[in-house]
Amino acid sequence: MPVPSDCKYAKSHEWAKLLPDGTVLVGITDYAQNSLGDITYVQLPKVGAVLAAGEGFGVVESVKAASDLYAPFAGTVVEINEALNAAPETVNREPQTGGWMLKLRPANAAEFDGLLSAAEYEKLIG
């Protein structure tokens, strides 16, 4: 699957997609879900939580292991994807669409701009 070019990327394999209202959807990349294997549980923060850049915001569990999720930039959680409670496998099936995890309001727009481009991320995962 090609890396979608309408998103920015973190080295820790999260994607971030800027929405027209200035908020940003965050999830994990296809590369990340593929490395994790079957995802059985996604633990997300509460709406209203304030995250620092690089702060752990949750955990994604697969049959193999539990892995931390990191905020790609500082911001406030304005929405979480509640559907993942019952259907965490959506992250495997649609990592960059239906499998979104958080909607964040960035504390500082420049931080979002500083994330990796799709081409840069593609190079990172080789």
Binding site: G37, D38, Q43, V59, V63, K64, N92
Partner: protein, 365 residues
């Protein structure tokens, strides 16, 4: 680190999209598509597993049966050609050396299937204790590939490929036979809780046999299944895995395997006295299978606490049951401990004891 060993089906697995892991020194397929999907396929239709990493030890000769009866905890004297027996094999202190399956091929000819990671240890253990018995012990692991075809459609898939009457082959029985032109030992055994077969064949015939099975199984929805699904299937069925529910420290009685420990067997067996003493004194700890009502998988090694918060044991196996849609597992806990729970990232997950199997399994006869 020595190079990982590969099964005769390595190239076949690679061609079919396997993802490999190091399993006991072997480069084994952990999954082909999805562990959870492969698990469901085995419960609903059928799955084909490459389990050629398993070890095989051959014991032959006039006193082969007497030797095995002394070596393992179950009653080998009940075996006859074509009969198969599951057993544990213990140290003198009652700890488990390995669990194994004995296939009686002839009155003086037994094939013993052991865990891959224990094969060398087991072969040495066999050789050491065979002294004084008129029998011959050989590690013949390199002479065999092993394919397991498991699930409700297993018989329908294999029957057209063999002249052997599979309907007449009862659970825990075996027979020599040709499957898709390959000379096999066909066994009604498995590690999934489903009905199914394990086919021991020559390594150089394994790939052709696997391709034939896969082709014959296609109309039945057969898919390849890896070690990931094998582990969740065996746990759902409540079968022990060496190093988890049984080990050098966890004896068979503690693991709920009393049914394969014949303490009254004539002549006894290695570990008999220790296990008798343990039974008389009461088990210090035992294996409890549990479900959680939660999706978070409890990982092996995680401490288990009781209502007072005291640590009373640890998780030994944990996985996600795709049938129950919740995390299940096993724990070794102090005998009688109750109201068990495990902390997962600050949340107390309550363990509900379950007498396995976790899911309804088909009758096997």
């Amino acid at each position: 680190m020595p190079a990982l060993k590969r099964t005769p089906l390595f190239a076949f697995n690679q061609q079919h999209g396997a993802r490999f892991v190091d399993f006991g020194g072997w480069e084994m397929p952990v999954q082909y598509r999805s562990i959870l999907e492969e698990h469901r396929v085995v419960r609903q239709r059928a799955g084909l597993f490459d389990v050629s990493h398993m070890g095989e030890i051959e014991v032959t000769g006039p006193e082969a049966m007497r030797f095995l009866d002394r070596l393992v905890t179950n009653d080998v004297s009940t075996l006859f050609p074509g009969r198969v027996l599951y057993s544990t094999m213990c140290q003198s202190d009652g700890g488990v050396v390995d669990d194994l399956i004995i296939y009686c091929r002839g009155a003086q000819d037994f094939l013993v299937c052991v865990n891959a990671s224990n094969t060398d240890k087991d072969a040495a253990w066999f050789a050491e204790h065979a002294a004084g018995f008129d029998c011959r012990v050989r590690n013949v692991s390199d002479d065999f590939a092993l394919l397991a075809l498991q699930g409700p459609a297993a018989q329908a898939i294999i029957q057209p490929l063999t002249s052997a009457d599979l309907g007449a082959l009862k659970y825990y029985h075996c027979a020599p036979g040709t499957v898709a032109g390959a000379e096999c030992l066909i066994a009604r055994t498995g590690y999934t809780g489903e009905n199914g077969y394990e086919l021991f064949c020559r390594p150089d015939e394994a790939e052709r046999l696997a391709e034939a099975l896969l082709a014959a199984g296609q109309p039945h929805g057969l898919e390849l299944a890896g070690l990931g699904a094998r582990d969740s299937l065996r746990l759902e069925a409540g079968y022990p895995l060496y190093g988890h529910e049984i080990s050098a420290e966890i004896g068979p009685l503690q693991a709920g395997l009393g049914w394969v420990v014949k303490l009254g067997k004539a002549g006894g067996f290695i570990g008999c006295e220790a296990l008798r003493a343990q039974q008389a004194a009461g088990l210090p700890s035992w294996i409890v299978f549990f479900k959680t009502g939660d999706r978070r998988i409890l990982r092996a090694g995680t401490p288990v606490t009781d209502a007072s918060g005291a640590v009373v044991g640890e998780v030994r196996s944990g996985t996600f049951s795709p049938v129950l849609n919740e995390a299940i597992g096993s724990a070794l806990v102090n005998t009688g401990a109750s109201e068990l729970s495990v902390d997962v990232r600050g949340t107390a997950i309550k363990l509900t004891p379950v007498r396995p199997p976790f899911v309804p399994l088909p009758a096997k006869n």
